[in-house]
Amino acid sequence: MEEVINLDKLSNLIKNRKIAKSYNGVFLALIGLIILFSFLSPHFLQTNNLLTILAQVSIIAILAYGMTFVLMIGEIDLSVGSIVALCGIVLGVMLSSGQSAFVSIVIVLVVGALAGLLNGMISAKFRIPTFIVTVATMGIFRGIGYAITDARPIQIDNPFILYLGNGKIFDLIPVPVVIVLLLLIIAHVVLSKTKFGRQAKIVGGNRVAAEYVGINIKRLQMKIFMITGLAAAVSSILLSARLYSAQPNVAVGYELDAIAATVLGGTSLSGGYGTVIGTFIGALIMGVINNGMNLIGMPYFYQQIVKGLIIIIAVYIDVRNKERLLAK
């Protein structure tokens, strides 16, 4: 049991205001869950298992980073799961047609960005709610994926791509973990430190004010949907590697998981509020729940029920915490 992490250290972390901040509540919920599961399963707190959780969570987390931007401006993107599928197929086709890993990745990123851009463009130019646009493209993108491969999976055997999804650095840290943390930093900086991120907050906070200060909302929206598209493309690479194959039927329903992680992390569905770090914590909560319940071998039907309950409790802790802070 030497690899087990010290619980005291964790609870010190909670007390440390600077780290906790506005996502204090979710963070608390996460710690609670970790403590709970570490009592329920001796395997849970092993470094190896914690890294596994991070790797498992990486795909949803990256999608959720993108989703944070979309929700920030008060929009929604239901097509990200389908973009993941489509980008995976493109990756598979590229690789199997003999392209190098590098070229394939670039093309996949371009396809993801274009798919996102298309969402943003249709909605901005034709003034159609993003919910409708992305419900529609959800079918369209996946349909294209199916049409390309006739629903058959494409094997992925490019060693570099496989390394991205399954490799380990120093024989310990999974590469997806490094990627997800790197992207966390980037997304956090973009959202909270750049003009672009600030514009998103302005638009989400007050659309009229945004227009009055001269922000081109349509262009911003297109860029933001491009970001979710890009995030989906990155996810698709990790997922395809993890699955050793590209298939059009992957990532079904991931949009809801990504949105749930984002909202769990404190982002408001109506725009204006949210942090990428909160989102990451939200994704971790979902990952910890899934992993923990698997470890203790909870029967499937009960997993669904318990997961639902835990999500509600986690958000409640967060709500309570915010209210307590406000009351001070």
Binding site: V189, K193, T194, K195, R198, Q199, K201, I202, G204, G205, N206, V208, A209, A210, E211, Y212, V213, G214, I215, G272, Y273
Partner: protein
């Protein structure tokens, strides 16, 4: 001196069902302050929004410094040195004061926003303007008056050549207004040209050089401020003579009994130990500075803020009011000060807004809403308050600010209250309509309604109320007779004896 900086010629703008502007001209010189005057819905805001690039005109030309320009969007206007304070607050509630002021023009360092610099820039700006607000405060936690000051600072932060102020003082108390006027004269002396929109005559006479009047989207005329009188201006605006601004109330109450009374109302941090009463037919004024807690007291009465202790009596009998529902059940009505956030459903029609506090009265015997009755009620209110709208169905966000305010009033008048609380009820309302509203208040009073009015407009509150309570630091500090008191006396109570002299220059009672 013909140092013309701005010239608008033949500006036209048509909205569905409304001709907002039919060929309006405007000329402005460097260092000049022009008052834009007109009734609610005359087209003042529309004209200014065309200038600031948020509306496209349907016709006409704009010249800046003699050069013809096309203002296609907000950024064009900004680049031409035009800056505007919109009539409706337009800040982001989720961002801090500094973030709002430098929204879309944040200072950066290595491509990232330099928060520290932004805060120090904000602080410097506030120091210059003598504004005392924490740059790091989140806007949604500020009172409206502070939000309005932030809005003003934001407009000034770009060092514009032309500043448009669309009713900047409607959300300010006299102290802030004073501050604003100082700012205006400072900028004026530096050569900045300004368009100033307000329904308060005394302000217009205090700070403007020339006055331009619009009526129903038409240019009526321009006069020099020094050479005109408010009677003349009102005639130009309204199109007829109006001999008085405040209608005469020939009784102070209809019965000498306490219709409504609260005793020892306390809500920690919001208000302490409030005792007040109103008689039937009496108009009770509440005056205080920004942040003194008047709004909170009203919210406490109406059950929006839950009191910690105290009791309420109606007709001498104790009643429990814990929420707006029970307040309305007890025939109390409350016209809130922030129409956009607290009063209106902007996306709904005029009729839905007017009837929303009184839906039960529309029910037929099958418990369905009586649509015809609803339309009749609406049409009647539109007539009574002279609400300018193309139809009873028009969504409220398409109406001018003053007309929106009238709808909030109509909504509460419609509940036929016994006790009517009005928080800044004439905010943004033109002189003609103000007169109508005062008259309606008197009519209600004559029927025995007890009225509590909160206003930052001292002349208004002195002229309208029968009795005046002065609020300071969340407590009632004095009860005065508005007929015999003076502004000096009020300010003395508020500031305390030692400070009298500092306030003397502010007094200017008519």
């Amino acid at each position: 001196m013909t140092d013309t900086i701005l010239k608008m010629k033949g500006i036209k703008k048509v909205f569905p069902g409304v001709v907002a502007l039919s060929g309006v001209d405007l000329e402005l010189e460097k260092g000049q302050v022009l008052a834009l005057l007109g009734e609610n819905g005359a087209g003042k805001s529309t004209l200014m929004k065309i200038l600031s690039g948020s509306y496209k005109p349907d016709g006409g030309e704009i010249f800046i410094k003699g050069k013809k320009v096309e203002i296609k969007n907000v950024n064009d206007a900004k680049e031409l040195g035009i800056s505007i304070i919109y009539q409706e607050l337009s800040l982001c509630p989720n961002l801090t004061v500094a973030e709002n002021i430098y929204a879309f023009q944040e200072p950066t360092r290595f491509g990232l926003i330099d928060d520290r610099k932004m805060i120090s820039m904000t602080q410097a700006l506030f120091d210059e303007l003598e504004i005392d607000i924490d740059p790091k405060a989140v806007v949604k936690d500020l009172s409206i008056s502070n939000q309005q000051m932030v809005e003003i600072a934001k407009a000034l932060s770009t060092k514009p050549d032309i500043i448009i102020m669309d009713e900047p003082t409607s959300a300010l108390s006299s102290k802030e207004t004073e501050k604003l006027f100082k700012i205006i004269s400072k900028y004026k002396s530096e050569g900045t040209a300004m368009v100033y929109i307000s329904h308060r005559m005394e302000e217009i006479f205090a700070i403007t050089d020339i006055i331009m009047v619009l009526r129903d989207g038409q240019y009526i005329g321009t006069v020099e401020t020094a050479l005109t009188t408010s009677e003349e201006l009102i005639k130009m605006m309204v199109g007829r003579e109006m001999d008085q601004v405040y209608p005469h109330k020939d009784f102070s109450y209809t019965k000498d009994e306490k219709l409504f009374e609260i005793k020892n109302y306390t809500k920690n941090k919001f208000f302490y130990d409030i005792n007040l009463y109103v008689r039937p037919g009496e108009i009770l004024g509440l005056y205080g500075l920004m942040g003194s807690g008047r709004t909170e007291i009203a919210k406490g009465i109406f059950g929006i803020l839950k009191k910690d202790s105290g009791e309420m009596c109606l007709h001498g009998k104790p009643v429990k009011v814990n929420d707006p529902y029970s307040a309305i059940e007890n025939n109390i009505a409350f016209v809130t000060e922030d129409r956009k956030h607290e009063g209106l459903v902007l996306t709904a029609g005029v009729y839905e807004n007017i009837t929303m506090a009184n839906l039960s009265s529309l029910l037929t015997k099958f418990r369905l809403l009586d649509t015809q009755k609803e339309i009749n009620i609406t049409e009647k209110q539109i007539d009574d308050l002279r609400i300018k709208t193309p139809s009873f169905k028009q969504t409220v966000n398409k109406l001018s600010g003053g007309n929106q305010q009238k709808i909030v009033l109509a909504k509460w008048f419609e509940t036929e209250p016994e006790v009517l609380i009005l928080d800044e009820p004439t905010r943004g309302i033109d002189v003609g309509a103000k007169y109508e509203i005062y008259k309606l208040m008197i009519d209600l009073a004559r029927k025995g309604v007890g009225i509590i009015i909160i206003s930052s407009d001292l002349p208004e509150i002195l002229n309208v109320s029968d009795r005046l309570l002065v609020i300071n630091k969340k407590r009632i500090i004095a009860e005065l007779d508005p007929k015999s008191t003076t502004q000096e006396e009020i300010m003395t109570h508020i500031i305390g004896r030692g400070d009298q002299f500092g306030q003397a220059k502010q007094s200017d009672k008519e």
